[in-house]
Amino acid sequence: MRKSIKKIVSILLVVVMFTAVISMFGCGKNDPAKVEKVTLRYATHYSTTDPMFAVRNAVIEKFKKDNPNVTIEDENMAATQYHDKLKTEIASDTLPDIFTNWGGSEVYEAVKAKKLMELTEVLDKDTAFKGIFLDGQFKSANLAFKDIEGLYGMPFNNITAGFYYNKDLFDKAGVQIPKTWDELINVVKKLKDTGTIPWAIGGKDGWRVQHLQTALAYKMYGTKLGQDLAERKVKYVDTTVDSFKRIETLRDLGAFGPNPASVDFSLEQNMFMTGKAAMNFSLNVYTSLFESDTSEIKGKVGFFPMPYFSEKPEFKDSVYGGGSVVYSLNSKLTGATKEAAIKLLKAFCGMDGQKEFLKANAIIPVVKITDKIDVQPLQQQFVDQLANAKEFAGDLTERDTLPTMLNKLRNVSVGLLNKQLTAEQAAQEMDKEIELNK
């Protein structure tokens, strides 16, 4: 009897011991059985030649390694198709869990319909993360919606545009960097005399001409123009005809070579990189491409800002640039999926991610980076341009709540370059679009 009691007690002890050991294992933070498996749909808009694409992939790989419980469904496509995808997914209520976008009118209706997660809580819960961003970064026009409070996209990068130029071709033509519009016209004429295409522009892609138009408009009226147009305080026909006329002047001078409206963006870049064109007004993100081994003009590329108008010196430092891409989350996310998405968002917008992108000369960061990071001198000039700007803003239509305005501006800009419209008609078309959608 005593023997059997002993046996029972010892069995019980063993059971208790096992239970304790197992529950101790259970307490372990790294117990894979306890970590919920999560799948995230992650969508971005990079072309495979974009310098950001490789860094993005590296960040994703690191994230996967650090978070083995998270499976990422990677959906990447070039920006042109991505815009369509985004609109379709908004309409069909199938937005990815985490995705890049440009804020502004493109997602305005989705924000209004509460399809995007409000991110103020993410910042408030992590003050260290909140503190790394540049002053005023959250006030960027693409994040501010006229009648909606809150934050619906985490800033990822800033952009700005300026002139890349071929130093050899400038020397050959005996011209210096132009500081004013008149000097720019002179440079164009002299470059043309040497048989070079002065300025490569991919007029087939509307955004190429629209960027130029917007940069010119800001040098004439300052960046407040965008806001005034969005609030319908001024009309396009009263404020933008001049900027369209300047493009007409350049076109008629032959600055862009023959048939600029049939040149697409890749041909534009090719013309500049093969030394067929002397200048290229473009975004900072292409510095590493122009200085890459595939570029025939490697080491010969310089930078200068958009020349100002001597009659408008007050807008000399009004620059086209500012907040660009943001990361947004689907408002339906909850629990572990939401946590994983926030983690991934921080991997891109946080300090470590931003440093990686800066090292690759792929972005102008949105955070205050105090470490010394070697950046290409060309990229640094773009960074300095934005840092020293008196004021800056993105697309002219950025604050507009009418979603077709950006497309319309691109369409009329191409129409102008293609001689389908005059400067006056281009501006009138913009006002007509507003009238039509009242």
Binding site: E109, D205, G206, L436
Partner: protein, 317 residues
């Protein structure tokens, strides 16, 4: 219950105790059952969206679940007709329809007739003419983009190399050539399809008619105009309807050739492109649906007129 009765209709136990298939051509139940899946797909994917589109055309909706959805009466239609781009797209569509009919139908009929003569190499030509139809429209569009590119395109290179530099153009962006280029590419793609239909119709004409004509000494031209055209008239009617509906639906070809812009500055816009633009870029599904409803009404009306004309005359003949 139905399945059980169908089973009994399909299989019967014959006098030797063996199961054997039954000829069920006359069994309505079975015919209906076999048509059901196709009907279900047709109702769900064609009829329902069409009626839903008509319904949406009377509402103001941004196309986002949860956004305002309010009755808007005929205002979407008024707005669409006020839009100069819509009027331009209608003009373009008319041009597209007329040029497509003028180019595709006679060429398809002529090629079909020539191939029906059984000349040497008929099979090769049949395959060659039909080939563009089986290729992806995107691939074809990219191919033509390369051929017609202003700066490095094949066509301009050929013209330059033969001393016709003055004829080179920016084919896809010059307003005087852009839309015509698109129409001709579309015709090039589809002519093979109509050729096959008309060839089949020509081959269906009884041989003795041709033999009788041969004896009478009729030449090829007479045969073509006096015999072929009247006898394949019904099939020509079918082709007209198919060409028109295909043309009205053309979206992908223009989208790729114009890099998604339908431009420059909307010069290549067609109603279907504008419907997409209004709905997905402009967040205005009401306007987009109004355009699709107008296209639907136009398509149905035109098809009905052509069918009535062709079949009525055939019946009276």
């Amino acid at each position: 219950m139905i399945a059980g009765s169908v089973f009994h209709s399909l299989l019967i136990n014959n006098s030797w105790g063996q199961w054997q298939m039954l000829n069920f051509k006359n069994s309505k139940k079975i015919i209906i059952l076999f048509l059901m899946p196709a009907l279900a797909f047709y109702l769900c994917l064609e009829i329902y969206p069409a009626f839903r589109g008509i319904f949406l055309s009377f509402y103001k909706w941004k196309g986002i679940g949860g956004s305002e959805f309010k009755f808007y009466g005929l205002n979407n239609y008024f707005e669409v007709f006020k839009d100069p781009v819509f009027l331009l797209s209608i003009r373009n569509l008319m041009r597209f329809l007329i040029v497509s009919l003028i180019t595709q139908l006679p060429i398809a009929l002529l090629i079909g007739y020539l191939l029906s003569l059984g000349l040497k190499g008929t099979r090769f030509f049949k395959i060659t003419f039909y080939l563009p139809m089986i290729l992806s429209v995107t691939a074809i569009s990219l191919l033509w983009k390369l051929i017609l590119a202003a700066n490095y395109g094949l066509l301009n290179s050929i013209l330059t190399s033969v001393g016709l530099e003055g004829l080179t153009k920016a084919w896809l962006t010059d307003p005087s050539t852009s839309f015509n280029s698109i129409i001709l590419i579309n015709s090039w793609i589809h002519v093979g399809f109509y050729m096959v239909i008309l060839l089949a119709a020509i081959l269906g004409i009884p041989e003795d008619i041709f033999e009788a004509l041969k004896l009478d000494g009729a030449n090829g031209v007479v045969v073509f105009f006096k015999i072929i055209i009247p006898l394949v008239r019904e099939m020509i009617g079918v082709c007209i309807v198919l060409i028109m509906t295909q043309t009205m639906k053309t979206f992908d070809l223009i989208y790729v050739l114009t890099s998604g812009t339908f431009g420059p500055n909307d010069i290549n816009q067609v109603p279907i492109g504008l419907m997409y633009y209004k709905s997905f870029i402009g967040d205005n599904f009401g306007n987009g649906s109004a355009i699709s409803t107008l296209v639907l009404i136009f398509g149905v009306t035109i098809s009905a007129i052509v069918y009535m004309k062709v079949f009525k005359e055939n019946t009276s003949n």
